[in-house]
């Protein structure tokens, strides 16, 4: 019985451990230098754990990517069709993070390889 309990605890600990490893990997990905491009919100959704999400698409080096981000606190700006700057860790194009505080007007186009620095749109207009 005691053995079974220990196995059970080990099993739950391993679930948490797998999560921690995934988290550490992700943290290391986001420490990479970034490039910036433009993403467009294509869908607002919710996960099984009731997380409100904005799903957005962006392109880099001619390839299209989709990702999602919790839009809590940004519901008023995170609307379908709106465009924002997306910051992408170099070498991990799938991990692009939408920046809700960096809206982009419709006339602006990003270079295919993205910007190497956070763009200043006043200069681009």
């Amino acid at each position: 019985m005691q053995k079974e309990k220990i196995k059970g605890i080990a099993l739950i600990a391993s679930i948490i451990l797998i999560g921690l490893i995934a988290q550490l990997y992700k943290n290391s990905v986001y420490e990479n230098p970034k490039v910036y491009t433009i993403g467009t919100i294509i869908k607002l959704s919710s996960t099984a754990s009731m997380e409100m999400q904005a799903i957005y698409s962006y392109s880099l080096d001619g390839k299209k990517y989709e990702n999602s981000q919790n839009n809590f606190g940004n519901q008023s700006v995170a609307k379908i069709g709106r465009r924002f700057v997306v910051s992408i860790p170099i070498g991990h194009n799938n991990y692009g993070v939408i920046m809700f505080d960096q809206p982009v007007s419709n006339g602006v186009k990003a270079p295919p390889e993205g910007w190497s620095e956070l763009p200043n749109f006043d200069n681009l207009k």
Partner: protein
């Protein structure tokens, strides 16, 4: 019979005979269901063994008793859903339905006897609870957000479900925190006031106290509430036993 018949002779019409047919459920030996792996079937079997015919009647009997011109009894949605679930894999009705039945379906699909629905701390029981929680979450996320939806797995809820600790504290933790380490975005940890609204947390606490978190999945679905309550009760039985929960939450006794 009433109605106008201009060509009929006046007076009483004597009909030689009227046959009304209605569809019948097949004769099933429900006692075998008590040992079924499917929790829905198992609980129906337990009800049968305990002689609770009323419950079984309610489960299988159509609520609408009118006989249509086609001679078939209109089947209630509740009954349809129930029989769909009992029948095994219920697909083609959309993501919501699929999600609601995810738990038994997942386990049946795995077709293994290495699962246990007991609330114990055995490896079998922990694996079962993990599969149910992670599988249900993944299914809902994939249906709503596409193939990459698996990345939105909330590990907090998986770990809490795996522990089988259906107590107030676990409900509060599960409803006020969210940890999605596999997601490809920077904010993988959310908590009350930072990614989770008070309303969401209260809903989550209320429902998970009862169902261990599964209720929130089903509230998103278009299932009728009777079935949701029933399924909830089955989830609850993972830790708390069958009888009282069914009575209180399904039959409102």
């Amino acid at each position: 019979m009433t109605g106008e018949c201009p060509e009929c002779p006046a007076g009483t019409i004597v009909l030689e005979g009227v046959t009304v047919t209605a569809s019948r459920l097949p004769q099933i030996d429900y006692s075998n269901w008590a040992s079924s792996f499917n929790p829905i079937m198992r609980n129906a079997g337990l009800k049968y063994k305990r002689g609770d015919k009323k419950w079984l009647q309610r489960a299988f009997k159509p609520s609408n008793k009118t006989i249509s011109w086609t001679g078939k009894v209109e089947e209630s949605q509740w009954s349809k859903d129930f029989r769909g679930a009992v029948g095994g894999i219920y697909v083609g009705v959309g993501g919501a339905m699929l999600a609601a039945f995810a738990s038994p379906v997942l386990l049946e699909a795995l077709g293994s006897s290495s699962f246990s629905f007991s609330g114990s701390f055995s490896v079998k029981a922990i694996v079962t609870r993990t599969v149910i929680e992670a599988g249900s979450q993944t299914l809902v996320n994939v249906v709503s957000n596409g193939a990459s939806g698996w990345r939105d797995l909330d590990v907090t809820n998986v770990a809490l479900s795996a522990s089988g600790l259906n107590f107030v504290g676990s409900s509060i933790i599960g409803s006020t925190t969210r940890w999605t380490p596999f997601s490809q975005n920077s904010n993988s940890v959310s908590y009350l006031g930072n990614g989770i609204t008070g309303g969401q947390a209260i809903t989550g606490i209320g429902t998970s106290l009862f169902s261990g978190g599964q209720r929130s999945l089903m509230d998103k679905s278009s299932l009728n509430k009777g079935l949701v309550n029933m399924f909830d009760a089955f989830n609850h039985t993972k830790a708390k036993g069958v009888g009282e929960t069914i009575n209180k939450k399904v039959l409102n006794k």
